[in-house]
Symmetry: C2
Subunit: 229 residues, 2 copies
DNA sequence: TTATAAAATTAAGTAAGCTTAAAATATGAC
DNA sequence: GTCATATTTTAAGCTTACTTAATTTTATAA
């Protein structure tokens, strides 16, 4: 009914939807690393299966059936990531890639077993929320991009929005990991490079990096614990 | 390089090779639940990839490359089965089906992680040997089919050769599980139905069932521990 | 050995999911 | 509003992995 390819389209659509609010075919092609015509082609087919609403030259939308299916793909992906990380002790930077394939090859029953074994986790190892079996997302803390944080504010690193091995290994090497506190010291004007402190060390962070790190529990100045976001 | 479909051909070929000594296209079609022409078609392609030696109207054979690849598929399958059974506590009768898909979707690195976590098991939950990372099978106890056992001999149930849920659930319901001792009491002549004792109970076993159960540590009569097979 | 049955192949066709090249449409800078 | 650019679609074609129907080859048994 839904092939591996279709599931990847649905998953990518879901992520784009979440980031950009709408899904342009171009971005889909980019995310899936395939040509534009292939995307048009597939979306027409997804339209026929009532998974998306496709009309020419317009951003594509989920039907409610499609959104449900997408949620299930996301759920399987994130439970696999959590499972590989917590149970198998597979390296943090590699679980995404592995889950990208396993998400298509496991029964719902197996996913539910793993979820129970993990005691129904709310977050995957990158800080993304895990939909329940009914497709409901757990309530999340308010978050803002590190790139958008105000000067001299601090917060907790809570999510990364890019799962490439290279990026994640860079973060680990720099000690920029989930759960740590981080304070924004300075923003260089012409290229938005940030200076931060983490573990009492100053570090420079490129704007691209800062675009992919999300912070929660923002507090102004860091003198007290007042939460402003 | 090797698609899911190709891997299933290689896996099925391996099993047939092991059971029957040679692989007829017909049997492959049967095992994979596809038509004869599809098998001919694929085997020609596998020939071009130097995975098998194909010549028309003859049983097909592995090349050494093909055998290696098949071994790796078998290895992934059996490690998954063992992992699901031991770690996830997934039901015995369902691990085969799940592994049949997962075997195509996991990196070698993940397989090796799971294998280490399981402390390098030699057998999967159905009693099949697990090839090492180098494709070497562990030494196995001598086994014979329950169907071929001599009257009044007993032995240990050590392997089942059919992994369908229906069959495995039947065995569990009857208490016929790996590791138990079983003695052959009687063989009815006209249909080879067997009478056995297991757990001090008499049971009737169809010949088809007996064809799919393998015994080790055969001892004659059961009076003493002398091993004859 | 010859008829019959079983096994395998050839032929023709299909659907999914891709590709590149060319054409159409939309966007957005001035 | 026009024009250049970016986005999307159409067109044509390819590979993989299947199907059924018809034919050929091999195996078996009287
Ligand atoms: Mn991921
Ligand atoms: Mn995927
Ligand atoms: Mn199995
Ligand atoms: Mn398989």
């Amino acid at each position: 009914m839904t092939s591996e390819s279709i599931e990847n389209y649905l998953g990518a659509m879901y992520r784009l939807q979440n980031e950009a609010g709408e899904v342009k075919l171009n971005q889909l092609a980019d995310a899936l690393n395939i040509s534009g015509p292939a995307v048009t082609d597939m979306l027409k087919r997804l339209g026929q299966k009532d998974l998306v609403v496709y009309s020419p030259y317009k951003p594509v939308k989920f039907t409610s059936l499609g959104e449900q299916k997408a949620m299930q793909v996301i759920r399987r992906h994130r439970i696999w990531e959590k499972f590989l990380f917590e149970v198998v002790k597979f390296p943090w930077e590699k679980v995404h890639e592995e889950a990208e394939r396993l998400e298509h090859s496991s029964s719902d029953e197996l996913i539910n077993y793993m979820e129970a074994m993990l005691d129904f986790p709310e977050l995957d190892p990158h800080g993304n929320p895990i939909p329940s079996i009914n497709g409901v997302l757990p309530r999340q803390n308010a978050m803002i991009k590190l790139a958008d944080m105000n000067l001299l504010h601090s917060g907790i690193i809570s999510r990364v929005n890019e799962h490439s091995q290279e990026f994640l290994m860079y973060l680990m090497a720099e000690g920029i990991t989930l759960g740590k506190e981080l304070r924004l010291i300075e923003r260089r004007n012409f290229d938005n490079t940030l200076t931060i402190t983490i573990d009492n060390q100053e570090k420079q962070i490129s704007s691209m990096t800062a675009e992919n790190i999300f912070m929660s529990n923002i507090s102004n100045g860091g003198r007290d614990g007042k939460i402003t976001e």
